[in-house]
Symmetry: C2
Subunit: 399 residues, 2 copies
Amino acid sequence: MRRMNAVAVLDAVRTASSSTLRVADLAALTGLSRPAVTRALATLTEHGLVETAPEAPEAAGAVGRPAQHVRFRAGVGHVAGIDIGPHKVLVMVADLAGEVRAARRVAISPGTDGPRLFDTVRTALDDAVAEAGITPGDLWAVSVGTPGVVDPARGEVLLAPSIPGWAGLPVVPRLRDWLNCPVLIDNDVDLAVLGERWRGAATGADSVVFVQWGERIGAGIVIGGTPHRGASNAAGELGFVRLQPGTPTAAPAARSADRLGPDELGPFERLAGAAAIRGMAREAGVALGDGGDTAPLFDAARDGDPEAVAVVEQAAARFAHGLSVLVLLLDPGLVVIGGGLSRAGETLLEPVRRHLQHLTLVPANVRASALGDSAVAVGALRRALTASEARLTEPITEA
Amino acid sequence: MRRMNAVAVLDAVRTASSSTLRVADLAALTGLSRPAVTRALATLTEHGLVETAPEAPEAAGAVGRPAQHVRFRAGVGHVAGIDIGPHKVLVMVADLAGEVRAARRVAISPGTDGPRLFDTVRTALDDAVAEAGITPGDLWAVSVGTPGVVDPARGEVLLAPSIPGWAGLPVVPRLRDWLNCPVLIDNDVDLAVLGERWRGAATGADSVVFVQWGERIGAGIVIGGTPHRGASNAAGELGFVRLQPGTPTAAPAARSADRLGPDELGPFERLAGAAAIRGMAREAGVALGDGGDTAPLFDAARDGDPEAVAVVEQAAARFAHGLSVLVLLLDPGLVVIGGGLSRAGETLLEPVRRHLQHLTLVPANVRASALGDSAVAVGALRRALTASEARLTEPITEA
């Protein structure tokens, strides 16, 4: 009974919106008596999970001893969220309140293979935990997002067309051996949509589709609060949708990474992905930035340069065409656009919406990602926090 | 307590797979004592919900009085399922065990407007209930399936491109006034998938997509046992997916029936619907049946006629292209193909599967509907049965 009370009080302290909680507030939140709350707080303090601080004198009344504020000791544990992609690795380390304590971003050169990528991840995580003042062994849970077809239950990457040698690499077992904590793996876009629902453009949305728009194009689908991953964990493969008639070229007929090289984009990616847009810009004589950065294209369009405007229109029309298929089939209500191209913001999204409305039966609310290219790592943090919750109450319930 | 026991025994009698239930079986199924089951059966018999019959002498033992078999009196009530489409009205009347007691099918001539269609429905329902030996007022629940965008909660047809004057017609209120029982309305394809899961090609499937392939093309989506209707009840509109680039023609930009005439097919319907296939056959000089019946085309293809085979190949390739989009986005595992064209069976589905596998990342199991063009009405019966359950236990629980 006392243990149950302690768990209830801990939940209340962790999830309360107010940061200045007193015993009376906790009694009201939990329905427990004040003495029961006080006993529970003693247990939680003993296990290092909460701390109390005297109320600031100006806030306390003039009479009697000052009241105590109760705070969750979020720093008692840490989690990591890791976005592993073909172009970058982003590691975030957060405390148990989800506050980001350190982040490491490492660019990946094209053609990096699976084993080398794993080493990069390891180094980035080492650096990030050091910055957060802990060691890798101190992590309570780690969540990894990666492109391709991922089986979260078995912790395996089944198909990763964009990273050679990544599918089949025992990423999760290796991380588990090293870190000795729960390690989860998900499709990157499925984590991005989780991130946007937690702290991004889809907070409070029960059903939403997140569309990653960059070199690759993919969708993370949430229906009625539940991620829809599909019968073979292969839902949301918008990048492989074909919008032209004719016989397939380079069709990935088998579920095998060996059959798909790193450059084998899907038909819709070849039509509307970042490489296609760079190609259109070059053809129209619009300057791009270093390494083909598309930011100058969108800047020029914003300034009214007619060639740049025409390229952006064409890109938006192509993307809206693919998006219309998704809206016609799923009617998701809300669509969040993320990925590198979403950085162009309204310059790109306004024409996307304009083209989309001519192609669908009912409207969809199309918004830019609020998290940008951190969405996957933020969603991974959210997953890791959920996975860490069992450990939080373990010392109390087993005491 | 006695009432709860009676409801538990009734549930056991209704859902038991065995048709020869004795008191001992019901005690085992419900966990109640034999005397409690006997008391519950007395209550249920009094309300006309169950009946007992002496066991056949050859099955009973040689000694003692013969045991009693307990049966649900399924004829105590009836429900109706109605499929209202642009080409036919199909009414089915069933008892509370779901046994079909009467059916009426009426062909609808092209261009029939909403009010005339409603009269046809009324007459067909009158005829069907008469054949079942009841009156319309005896129905316990009625479920209606109709094409277009339907709001089941408000009982409204919001958009019905294929039936002029149908959207906005107060179908549900009129039926309720007449019948004085619960009347439900759903998108036809959403009911078809329910029918296939109940008694068709998708029994036991938790996630499945049903694709209607006829003059119109639409999909009914079930994910994790729940129909996915979309934020605006407009999910599954595969017929409006556009598989060619270019500017939209006749795009239905507003959610209004007035903007869509009865002949305004969606882009994918124009590409792969029944009319398109008839057009391909005529162009290739393949004979069709009366009124453009496509059966002779498929018969000729089955007999190896090269022109017919070529038309079927082209039709299958086009349809597989649209189907691939659905499989790439949803990864449903199982796809059931219904509608008029599914009557062609393997002659059409074998090439569909063959083309599909080159266009998707993971396989989908593609099956023909087991219910044919009765799927919508059968699904409507299932919906109506569920809606009638409250009335079944009302007299017991309120006694």
